[in-house]
């Protein structure tokens, strides 16, 4: 037994360990306060009146009858917005309320809001408001916005963004050419914790405090304050407990309405959406149509990729331009390809507004390129793993945007590690019916079931792009030995609160780390999105803790006649390197006060030029998925048996959390592959409920086998890459490819519906 090279295991609760969530006990006991649990004395309820039409001119609004209902305290419309009448993340093009004389542009657009003493009173008041509409023919097909045949439905026009990428030699061709037209349906983020907020007005209406479930407090505050006509420092936001986000909380929904009602009534107001309203109240994943043509040499090596992508942005801009850029800049996937011609459009229609959702445009692009890779493999007579390995990107490769991939890029390793995960056993002769397609419906006939195996591999950018400085801020205080962290990072379930404590324990050598309230009383943290908080807010917390530690070292050194540059943390002690001084941190910090705030900025990025060239992204992460499915070819039902995955994570900071992110992301990608779709017909959502919008249940969740590929990312402050988005990206085409293999069907669209398989 070798005892000389033993490495001590990390101290419990530090980086690399399964630390416990600080909010865990409250969450399992039911005491954790989500934004929908917020309550205040003398509180009123708010509710929102929404348009029943996708496109219509408002002729008049009559609130007379609603005002006669006992218990109604306020009714507000566009005329009651004191500040900016519109908001938006990129363009301020979305009205707080649609105005008389102007148009509503999607079904569900807010027209008025009420405050009353009971939710039922609110419902009755909304029903009593008379709105006269002149119904207009809606723009539903985004292609009509490109060819100009659609009427212009917004002063800013119907094109939200148009961008080309031309890379290398656009005229080159390959010996082998495959093409396809692919379609991705509209997915909902389907967080469990519905939109809810509580607004508390300041006396005299000079300001407001808002408890809100959001992904980015400071961005919300900026937009809310502008609409309220208040200075930002008069609008204080506090993070209400967030019941999941997945992109659906990046945009303003009920924030401004809740504040307006509270200021109008001088009473606390809570708005809480129901599930149906939530489907209208937040943006969704863009439905997209993507044509792709791949050129390769006879061995299967990529020569050129061509694509045309059309994203339906719906009625308002939200983040559509950024989603589109993410999609087109990821056209090549995790593969080396020098030549490309890509054209992307994000368009305005009278369909539901679309914006951020986990994967942010890359999901759509990946479904197309991974479908193409299987076609290319078949055309070249190479197996799907071989074709992906042959083209796997490496660090130093040049993207079609001209950007050099300077992140670690273990694409081939992800593929090999995934391939090494054992396949599940063949179906038993007498299987449990719950394991079969159709599950508890008990509809499957063993003899109609075919098994398929499919692959998907992806690349995902981390952090915001195109010149955006989405910095993060953290404050570390040491007060008489007690360490307190303060940041505005939205904890949406991902576990940043746990990671922040792990960082502080590691850097400062303490076990107890207090967390201050997450609010706007500290600098911005940027958004909990784009797989960015571990890197960005992790970097900020790390920097603040290091600064605080260095200050503490100076004080301890002065007290003890030591050189501060020779002090270090060893476990929970401060020690002098090469010396004899050793003292527990908690003891050494007694009676001392340190207070350090730091910002972390990622390396700057730049805009794309007219040919789509530019260093627009910060960093990249990679992942491979292999899906095994059983398909009932008579009934068109699919059971995902196993998903094997190897993910490039840089460094695992919390193993249990990483597994949780991977398993959760895979379930969401499975949803898009076979069941989750917002069905929109004539501009109306046909299935705004959990009865009709199907989410993966416990019985749908496959066995997941995970390998983490740990190659320390030197650009990242903690060596780690964001883990959140990659799991949901290439699992969708992996499942689609598996169904294709089982059925021999083309299946150009996800979700794959039963009728796509068996009719």
């Amino acid at each position: 037994m070798n005892t000389t090279n033993t490495i001590a295991p990390p101290r419990p609760g530090t980086l690399g360990t399964d630390a416990s969530r600080p909010d865990g006990v409250a969450k399992v006991q039911g005491g954790f306060a989500f934004s929908s649990d917020m309550w205040a004395e003398n509180m009123l309820w708010g509710a929102t009146l929404r348009s029943p039409h996708p496109y219509a001119r408002i002729v008049s609004i009559d609130t007379t009858a609603a005002w006669k209902i006992a218990g109604v305290e306020a009714i507000i419309t566009a005329d009651d917005v004191p500040g900016l009448a519109t908001y938006g993340l990129i363009m301020q093009d979305q009205p707080v309320f649609a105005r008389v004389g102007d148009t509503v542009r999607y079904t569900g657009e807010p027209v008025a809001a009420v405050a009353a003493d009971h939710p039922e009173t609110c419902k009755r008041a909304l029903a009593a408001i008379r709105v006269e509409y002149e119904v207009l023919p809606p723009v539903l097909d985004p292609e009509t916005c490109i060819d100009g045949t659609a009427p212009v439905i917004h002063p800013d026009g119907n094109v939200l963004r148009h961008q080309r990428i031309v890379s290398g030699d656009p005229t080159v061709t390959g010996d082998v050419v495959v093409e396809g037209l692919y379609e991705v349906g509209m997915q909902d983020q389907a967080f469990l914790g519905l939109e809810a907020a509580l607004a508390l007005p300041d006396p005299g209406g000079t300001g407001v405090e808002l408890y809100i479930a959001t992904q980015w407090l400071h961005e919300d505050r900026k937009q809310i304050a502008a609409c309220l006509g208040l200075p930002e420092d008069k609008v204080r936001l506090v993070l209400g407990g967030v019941g999941g986000a997945f992109g659906a909380r990046e945009d303003i929904s009920l924030q401004v309405h809740t504040c307006l009602l509270a200021l109008r009534t001088s009473r606390p107001v809570r708005i809480a959406y129901g599930r149906e309203e939530s489907f209208y109240g937040h943006v969704h994943r863009h439905p997209a149509k993507i044509w792709m043509r791949h050129h390769a040499d006879r061995s299967g090596r990529l020569v050129k990729v061509e694509s045309r992508m059309v994203f339906d942005g719906g009625a308002y801009c939200s983040t559509s331009p950024a989603v589109l850029i993410n999609a087109i800049t990821h056209t090549q996937g995790p593969y080396k390809c020098d030549n490309a011609v890509v054209e992307g459009w994000a368009l305005r229609t009278n369909n539901p507004p679309c914006g951020a959702m986990r994967g942010f445009g890359v999901v759509q692009a990946c479904f197309a390129h991974e479908s193409q890779m299987d076609k290319l493999a078949a055309a070249c007579g190479v197996d799907p793993v071989r074709i992906r390995l042959l083209n796997a990107m490496q660090t130093g490769d040049r993207l079609i945007t001209g950007q050099i991939v300077d992140s670690v890029a273990p694409v081939a390793e992800c593929i090999r590690e995934t391939a090494a995960i054992p396949l599940p056993p063949d179906m038993e002769a007498d299987p449990n019916v719950l394991d079969l397609p159709g599950g508890s419906g008990r509809t499957a006939d063993r003899h109609h079931i075919k098994r398929g195996v499919g692959w998907g591999v992806s690349i995902k950018n981390l952090m915001y792009s195109e010149g955006f400085d989405d910095y993060s801020t953290a404050r570390c205080r040491i007060d008489d030995g007690v360490v307190t962290l303060k940041f505005a990072t939205a904890e949406v379930g991902q576990g940043f609160v746990m990671l922040a404590q792990q960082i502080a324990r590691t850097v400062l050598g303490v076990d107890e780390v207090l967390l201050d309230t997450i609010d706007t009383q500290v600098g911005s943290a940027g958004s909990s999105s784009a797989s960015r908080q571990t890197w960005m807010s992790g970097g900020a917390v790390d920097a603040a803790c290091r600064a605080a530690r260095d200050e503490l070292f100076k004080m301890v050194a002065a007290d003890n006649g030591l050189d501060p540059s020779r002090l270090a943390i060893d476990g929970t002690d401060i020690v002098e390197v090469g010396g004899s001084f050793r003292r527990p941190v908690v003891q050494a910090a007694r009676g001392k006060r340190v207070d350090e705030t730091r910002e972390y900025h990622h390396q700057p990025t730049e805009d794309l030029d007219e040919n789509g060239q530019g260093n627009c992204h910060v960093a990249f992460a990679f992942v491979a998925h292999r899906a095994v499915v059983d398909v009932d070819i008579e009934l068109g039902l699919v059971k995902v048996v196993q998903v094997a995955t190897a993910q490039d994570v840089g460094r695992v900071l919390n193993p249990k959390s990483c597994v949780g992110q991977v398993e959760g992301g895979i379930a969401q990608g499975l949803g898009l592959a076979v069941m989750e779709e917002i069905v929109v017909q004539d501009g109306r959502v046909r299935n705004p409920s959990f009865t009709d919008y199907l989410l993966p249940t416990f019985l749908d969740a496959p066995q997941v086998d995970v390998v983490f590929v740990e190659e320390f990312e030197p650009k990242s402050p903690l060596g780690a890459k964001g883990v959140g988005e990659p799991p949901c990206i290439s699992v969708t085409p992996a499942i689609a490819n598996a169904i294709r293999q089982a059925t021999g069907r083309d299946l150009p669209r996800v979700p794959v519906r039963p009728s796509d398989i068996c009719l």
Binding site: K27, R124, F191, L192, G660, G664, F698
Partner: protein
């Protein structure tokens, strides 16, 4: 909670977690979920679908696990209601609650109270469930964050621990 003007004034009492609670001046249409959360100060049960599809509002009424969003509060007087707040022992975590934490079964936590109640109920009726029984029994509880893997492990862990007792 203020009295709603003009939409009723029902008075009744409910027995929740062994304690009797008076409900005063209420609207007859209020669900059990609403009354627990907004009148009795028990926000553990969560509303996420209002259709009995997601299980976030699961409570136990006279030994049966129900979606409290589908139950009229006034229809369960004279029953015994158990919510997530009634589990555990005087602030100490139950074995199920502890296992959810140990196994990483909690992320955003919105579905968690409903799951905790449903798992307790499952293990009381089926003390030694296999994976199929666990999956089927919990298929009425939706989780958007975890993909269920860590929750499955938590339930397995409790079942094993209880078996060895």
């Amino acid at each position: 909670m203020s009295t709603p003007s003009g939409i009723g004034s029902e008075n009744y009492s409910l027995t929740v977690n062994g304690r009797s609670h008076d409900v005063k001046d209420s609207w007859i249409g209020e669900s059990l979920l609403y009354v627990l959360r907004e009148r009795l100060g028990l926000p553990g049960a969560k509303g996420a679908c209002e259709q009995g599809e997601c299980g976030s509002c699961t409570v136990v009424v006279d030994g049966r696990a129900v979606c409290s969003c589908l139950v009229l509060a006034a229809s369960v007087v004279d029953t015994s209601i158990v919510t997530v707040e009634g589990l555990g022992d005087g602030g100490r975590l139950s074995d199920v609650q502890q296992a959810f934490l140990d196994c990483g079964g909690v992320q955003c936590g919105f579905c968690t109270p409903g799951f905790i109640v449903a798992v307790h109920h499952l293990l009381e009726s089926v003390p030694d469930p296999d994976d199929h029984q666990i999956r089927e029994a919990l298929s009425g509880n939706i989780c958007s964050c975890t993909g269920y893997g860590r929750i499955l492990e938590a339930v397995q862990q409790v079942a094993v621990a209880r078996r060895s007792k």
